[in-house]
Symmetry: C2
Subunit: 226 residues, 2 copies
């Protein structure tokens, strides 16, 4: 993470994910270069990466903007993620080792601990949750699947979802992880696929419930911009 292009990537990405930059905001190379303290060359590199991850969109005339996600877009992203993570779980179920199952149990234990603190430690939840899903993706053993999924799971709106979870939803997520581990222990691909797919779809419904649709989403945007 010491190369200039990595600095630029992380800096710009963080500005988008945190909400410091809002959807539709223009992104000039020169300005970003100054912010990041590097030249335009690594900034361009970083922007290409962010563009391929759909965090940035480019106009026909090659100008860049923070990507704007409609509720339909978000719904699509979750649908695809449910399908692909379901496939990952299905593949993992027949390949996973006892050692990796123990790792998953350790991650989920820490998720349970994060949930138990008051208020719930959402950052710890997210970090362990990320490890949990990443390990399953690795065990699935398909570089292509991993590449496709990583462009989906790193999206800012999806990422922020957990911040809107209720205590009950956090608990439910923890329990579903446990059930997934059970499916892995049995080596049951269909079960694992069903749990994982449902797990992701539930996350989407938690998200859309919390926001009561697009109107609420726009309200949140206005508030942050102010």
């Amino acid at each position: 993470m010491s190369r200039a292009s990595d600095i630029a990537y992380n800096t710009i990405r963080e500005m988008i994910v945190s909400g410091e930059l809002m959807p539709g905001d223009p992104l000039g190379e020169e300005a970003l270069a100054e912010i990041c303290g590097v030249s335009r060359t690594p900034v361009r590199d970083a922007m290409r990466r962010l563009e391929s991850e759909l965090l940035i969109r480019r106009s026909e005339s090659q100008r860049s903007f923070v990507a704007d996600w409609s509720l339909d877009d978000i719904s699509d992203a979750f649908e695809l993620r449910a399908m692909l993570e379901g496939l990952a779980a299905q593949r993992a179920a027949s390949r996973i080792s006892a050692a990796d199952i123990r790792k998953l149990e350790a991650y989920n234990q820490r998720i349970g601990e994060a949930n138990a603190s008051t208020p719930a430690d959402v950052d710890a939840f997210l970090e362990e949750n990320r490890k949990f899903h990443t390990l399953i993706l690795d065990v699935a053993g398909s570089a292509r699947l991993k590449t496709l999924l990583q462009t989906l799971i790193e999206q800012p709106i999806i990422w922020r979802t957990a911040h809107h979870y209720s205590p009950h939803e956090l608990l439910r997520s923890y329990q579903e992880h446990d059930e997934l581990i059970a499916a892995f222990k049995r080596g049951d691909p269909a079960w694992a696929e069903a749990i994982m797919s449902g797990h992701i779809r539930r996350a989407f419904h938690a998200y859309s419930d919390a926001h009561h649709g697009l109107a609420m989403l726009d309200a949140e945007r206005s508030k942050k911009r102010a």
Copy 2:
């Protein structure tokens, strides 16, 4: 396609897809810049794109090589494509207009004509086939799904598959397109999904049958290198 980075992208991509460059071959920026007649800057741009499309892989020390696809990788790519194009067909079935159905019929008619000539006009088949699948993907109306799929369907090994089709397989492909159109006319998402998924899976089996596994694949590589 007149920008230097597009020239570089197309030139390098063509060298990989055509087999002029073989899996594992090292790709130096300087050398490629000279071949393409541009400077290293647009070449680096192009290589980043090709890397995100998995045509190029990078070593831990940032050196680039032509990606090496094992039979497992190819199988994975087809599995994902079957799933995602199935989803596209499913979504398209409940959204497609009568005008677009007529377009699909026109494309498939030209596919039939390409098959009818002796020998079969594989390039025309591929072109109309591409239009057919692209239109369905557009009608599916998910930018994310389109982005994900395009990194899969443009892969060189998948693309060359049709060159190994037997006359019977070409006919079968044409008939499956017809059945897909029938599913669209009925507005039956499940039917469309099943046909499309099977259509892609059949393509994979045609491919693996033609190559009798990895040994045949290696033989072809040696022949081309000579």
